[in-house]
């Protein structure tokens, strides 16, 4: 049996286990296990501890499923022929400087924001996968703040912009060359409620 097959088998059984869990109509809430110490040295242990309800002994786990694939309507932001549909700004290694080639893109989005005062932009910073996830989250934030400053210079107020980071979470994994890492070092432009 090759490894791939083995994995499929393993995960098949895992998925089944998850499905079975999900199918239960009521959460499994166990009666607390009553423990009675019958050892000769039982007096040494506190009886209150032994009999107390182990609140953390939750063999039942209630699953929550989230589907955030939102509605995609018809608007200029989604029109592939409109520059507003372009959403990626790429960075050099270890840099948060916004390169000149992205000026038209940023200007177009700034114009849209100034014309649509209710529109809110979310700048999502990204990094390559080298380093720890939380630290990369902070590094990606630096890039989104840098892009935000470009918008500020074009007159867009902070109240219309939120700077966040995905860190390495959206990075294509297993990069072996610099081109691949480069594609991961970017800020993605998103609009609220789109």
């Amino acid at each position: 049996m090759n490894k791939g097959m083995m994995n499929k088998k393993l995960w098949g059984s895992l998925l089944l286990a998850v499905m079975l869990t999900a199918c239960k109509s009521t959460p499994m809430v166990d009666k607390p296990a009553a423990v009675e110490d019958k050892s000769p040295s039982a007096a040494a242990t506190k009886p209150a501890d032994a009999a107390s309800a182990p609140s953390a002994d939750t063999s039942g786990v209630k699953e929550v499923v989230i589907d955030s694939n939102a509605n995609a309507g018809n608007n200029p932001l989604k029109d592939p022929n409109n520059i507003l549909s372009k959403r990626n700004i790429y960075f050099d290694f270890d840099s948060d400087a916004v390169k000149a080639e992205y000026r038209p893109l940023i200007e177009a989005h700034a114009k849209y924001l100034l014309a649509n005062s209710n529109a809110k932009l979310i700048l999502q910073g990204n990094t390559d996968e080298r380093g720890t996830r939380e630290y990369n989250l902070s590094l990606g934030q630096r890039r989104s703040v840098s892009v935000k400053k470009s918008f500020n210079l074009l007159g867009v107020q902070d109240k219309q912009i939120e700077t966040v980071s995905f860190g390495e979470e959206k990075a294509s994994p297993n990069c072996v060359d610099e081109n691949c890492h480069q594609a991961n070092r970017r800020v993605d432009i998103a609009y609220e409620n789109e």
Binding site: N7, V35, D37, S59, K62, R133, L137, T163
Partner: protein, 427 residues
Amino acid sequence: MNILRHAVAFMAFLVTSLLSTVSNAALEIEISGGSAQQVPIAIVPFAQTGSLAKISDIVGADLRRSGLFRVLETGGVASRPSDLSQVKYGEWAALQAQALVVGSVEPLPGNRLKVNFKLADVLKQSQLAGLEYNIAPNQLRMTAHKIADVIYQKLTGEAGIFASRIAYINKSKGRYALQVADADGENPQTVVSSSEPIISPAWSPDGSKIAYVSFEKKKPIIFVQSLMTGQRLTLANFKGNNSAPAWSPDGSKLAIVLTHAANSQLYTINADGTGLKQLTKSSAIDTEPTWSPDAKWVYFSSDRGGRPQIYKVSSMGGEAQRVTFEGGYNLSPRFSPDGKSLAMIRNDGGKFRVALQDMASGQVQVLSEGGQDESPSFAPNGRVLLYATRTGGRGALAAVSSDGRVKQRLSESGGDVREPAWGPLLN
């Protein structure tokens, strides 16, 4: 008893494995190594009827994987005692057993079970421990782990880790699932799943809740979710990033990281989402907080000195002090439960590895051998560190004993598994 304790005390190292070798387990680990001096223990199959999992098998598997015990084959012994009154000690002494476990599982009215076990010192012919549990049938596995913990504690003098659970993120088919499994990898259950990333799971100290960061709303937001009810509290959803939750030792507060409109900074917040307080103020990145076990300090990583290093700040706020000086790049601090050592991720010539710093001497030992190792997490007894590694282009879990002598890697873990967090012992 003392003989056994001494035997254990002389053992060169401790291996404690987390995950099962049973073929249908979600997570599997290959056991490599073990102690040269293992306590020979005989576990008599429990008197047990029906199709339930065999308690004695689960107990034996736990003890065997700890590396500290040699679980003896009992098939050649004619008698099958289920209580110490039935034990002929000579039979077990002949098997070279130093310790003997007997027990039974009996049905009770109301779909309950009575589980009984006794642990005996074969040489002294005396009882070392004995407990009776009144449980629901679905608590059978966890009860077996608790029995294994009692045996481990009696014979080694140290707390066990079998009756605990691990959390991790499993990415499969484009979805992210935060899952929890028993410490032997069995009984995996999904806590929350999403089409967007989930990172940084953190167990509440009582093991009833998990805090995590979800990107479901196009930005990192911190949630706290009850395992039993699935109820979710939005702990922190401020403008910008909300990430890196770390519970205070008493579970009343969390240290978190917020950005508002600038760089990552540390804050504390009550577990109900009230009482936000800024802990660090710098123009640098401050992130990855973790509490010292005495709750006096919050340790964190920061690039305020250029390259990222570990710093600490009073949990009441104040000036930060640098903690790590060795190595050009240190991240992800995590305290051992006794507070005597600090685990971290070190960039070792481009390789990200788990390192352990002794707090008294300042000495640092690199424990892992991967290139992208992350998320170190101590077992409740501090003897083992679970961490994320990459192998064959996928995320997998690995473990290393805190003395660095035994390294274990999950073999057939299937999907892409990362961000492990070892939960507390279940009482």
